[in-house]
C-alpha cells in the first residue's frame, strides 16, 4: 500500500476540520473492508486516512418506537443485529446487515461505509430506501439532510463533497401495521455479491396496503427506488395479485447490465421474483394475510 497519514479525531469538530484541511486527499475509515482493499489494489490513492470510529456522533446507535433509529455512520453490522430494539423494529435492515460478507466482515463493516462506497450491489441500500432513511451530512460549513435514494450518483460515487462527512442515518419509526424485508439472490449460500436484491416495506390497514416502498440492488448504475412498485400496491387489497403487479413494476424499472454474475434478462426476472417474495415476508411481518 502507498504511504498514508493516519488521523483519529475524537470529536466531530476535529473530524470536520481534518476533512476541511485535507479535502480530496482524505478518505474516511470506518470498518475498512472496502477502503483498505481498494487502497492495496491501487484503486484509491488518498494520502490521508481519517479514522471515524472515535467520533461519538458516528458511533451512536439509539433506537426506540417513538423517535426511530439513529445510526452513526461508523457503527459495525454486529452492533446493529446485536441490538434488541433494532431487531424488533427494523427486521428489514437486520436482513441486510446479517448477510454482508461473513462474521469477521460484520465485525468491522458499517452501514455508513456500505452507503458511501456506493456500489450498485450494496445490500444495505435497498433496505434503507424501503425504510425511508435520511442521511445527515456535515462539513465545517454546516449540515444538510439527503434522502438515501438520492445519495448515490453513479457506481462508487455519492453526493458528498470532499469536505463533507456522513455522520448518521435516521430511520423514522415504523407505524402500526408496518413490515419490511430485504432479499437478495446469490448462487451460493453466503459470502457473495448480489446478482440482484430487493428491499421492501409495507404499511397495512384492514387488509389494504396504505403505503409501500421498493428498493432494488444491482440492476442499475445506482440502487433504485421504484416508486411505481409502491404506487401499484397503495390502496390495493393485500393479495398475491397485488404482489405480482408490484413485481412487474420492479421488472420494468430495472435497467441491468449483463456481466459474470448474470445476464440483464435474468436480473430483470430476479427483480420480479425477489420483490414479490420480499413483499410476502414484509406482509407476514406486518401481521397481514395474503388473499
Amino acid at each position: 500500500m502507498h504511504w498514508i497519514e493516519y488521523l483519529r479525531p475524537s470529536t466531530l469538530d476535529e473530524c470536520l476540520d481534518a476533512f476541511a484541511e485535507h479535502g480530496a486527499n482524505a478518505r474516511g475509515l470506518a470498518g475498512g473492508t472496502d477502503l483498505l482493499v481498494q487502497m492495496r489494489a491501487g484503486r484509491r490513492t488518498n494520502a490521508v486516512v481519517i479514522d471515524l470510529k472515535a467520533v461519538p456522533e458516528l458511533n451512536e446507535l439509539s433506537c426506540d418506537s417513538a423517535s426511530g433509529l439513529t445510526l452513526g455512520a461508523a457503527v459495525p453490522c454486529y452492533r446493529i443485529y446485536g441490538d434488541r430494539a433494532v431487531c424488533e423494529l427494523y427486521p428489514g435492515l437486520i436482513d441486510s446487515v446479517s448477510m454482508i460478507g461473513g462474521t469477521q466482515i460484520q465485525g468491522r463493516a458499517s452501514v455508513g461505509g456500505n452507503l458511501c462506497n456506493a456500489s450498485p450491489s450494496a445490500d444495505v441500500i435497498p433496505a434503507l430506501i424501503a425504510l425511508r432513511a435520511t442521511c445527515l451530512i456535515a462539513s465545517a460549513d454546516g449540515r444538510r439532510t439527503v434522502p438515501v435514494e438520492d445519495f448515490c450518483t453513479a457506481p462508487g460515487r455519492n453526493v458528498m463533497r470532499h469536505s463533507e462527512v456522513l455522520v448518521s442515518l435516521h430511520l423514522p419509526p415504523p407505524g402500526p401495521g408496518s413490515g419490511a424485508a430485504y432479499l437478495r439472490f446469490i448462487p451460493r449460500n453466503e459470502m457473495d455479491i448480489a446478482v440482484a436484491g430487493a428491499g421492501v416495506s409495507v404499511v397495512l390497514d384492514g387488509g389494504t396496503f396504505t403505503a409501500a416502498r421498493v428498493g432494488l440492488a444491482a440492476v442499475a448504475p445506482t440502487p433504485l427506488l421504484v416508486r411505481e412498485a409502491g404506487e401499484a400496491l397503495c390502496g390495493c387489497r393485500v393479495s398475491r395479485a397485488a404482489l405480482e403487479a408490484a413485481g412487474e413494476a420492479a421488472r420494468a424499472a430495472a435497467s441491468p447490465i449483463s456481466d459474470m454474475r448474470g445476464t440483464a434478462e435474468y436480473r430483470r426476472n430476479l427483480c420480479a421474483v425477489l420483490t414479490r417474495r420480499a413483499l410476502e415476508t414484509a406482509v407476514n411481518r406486518a401481521g397481514g394475510v395474503l388473499d
Binding site: 498514508i4 483519529r8 475509515l29 482493499v37 462474521t103 469477521q104 466482515i105 449460500n189 459470502m191
Partner: protein, 161 residues
C-alpha cells in the same frame, strides 16, 4: 514520514509497537511482534486465515490498521491455550484431524472459539454460517464442522462437572 507508537493488549499482556500508518494489524502482529501464528491468506478479507479477536469480536486482521489497535484488547491464536493446556477447540481439531496444511487453522480456531463463547450448543447450520468467512482448501470442511461440534460437547460436559 513518522511511525506510530501503539499501546495495546495482546493475549492479556500489555504490548507496544511502532508501525507505519499503512501497516495492517496482521503485519504488526507477524512482522513487528513476531506473533506468526496468525496467517496471511488473501490479504483482502475473504479467507479468514488472519482472524483475531479485537475487543471481543472476531475481525480479519488484514483489514485493520495496526494503528487502530491503540487501546484495544487483541486475542490471537497464541492466546487460546491457557497455562500450557490446549483449549477444547484445539484438542478437538487434533483429535478430529480437522487440518491438513494448517494455514487456515489458526483462523478457524479463533473463530470457532468465539462462536462457542457466544453459543454453547450451535447447530451444524449455525457453525457453517459462522465459519463462512474462513476458507479451507484441504479438508472439505466436514472434519472442521464435526470438530467444532465435538469441542462444544466437551465444553458443555466440562461446564456440567
Amino acid at each position: 514520514m513518522s511511525s506510530i507508537h501503539v499501546q495495546t493488549t495482546i493475549n492479556g499482556d500489555a504490548a507496544e509497537f511502532l508501525c507505519e500508518p499503512r501497516q495492517s494489524l496482521l503485519e504488526a502482529l507477524r512482522d513487528i511482534l513476531r506473533l506468526t501464528g496468525t496467517k496471511e491468506g488473501c490479504n483482502d478479507g475473504n479467507c479468514g486465515a488472519c482472524t483475531v479477536e479485537m475487543d471481543g469480536r472476531i475481525v480479519p486482521a488484514c483489514l485493520v490498521l495496526g494503528a487502530e489497535a491503540e487501546g484495544a484488547e487483541i486475542l490471537t491464536v497464541e492466546g487460546i491455550a491457557r497455562g500450557g493446556a490446549l483449549d477444547a477447540v484445539q484438542r478437538a481439531f487434533l483429535e478430529g484431524a480437522a487440518l491438513q496444511c494448517g494455514v487456515c487453522t489458526p483462523g478457524f480456531i479463533v473463530a470457532a472459539k468465539a462462536l462457542l463463547d457466544l453459543n454453547a450448543d450451535p447447530t451444524e447450520a449455525e457453525i457453517r454460517l459462522w465459519l463462512a468467512n474462513n476458507l479451507c482448501r484441504c479438508t472439505g470442511y466436514d472434519k472442521i464442522v464435526r470438530s467444532v461440534q465435538a469441542a462444544a460437547a466437551n465444553r458443555r460436559e466440562e461446564a456440567a462437572t
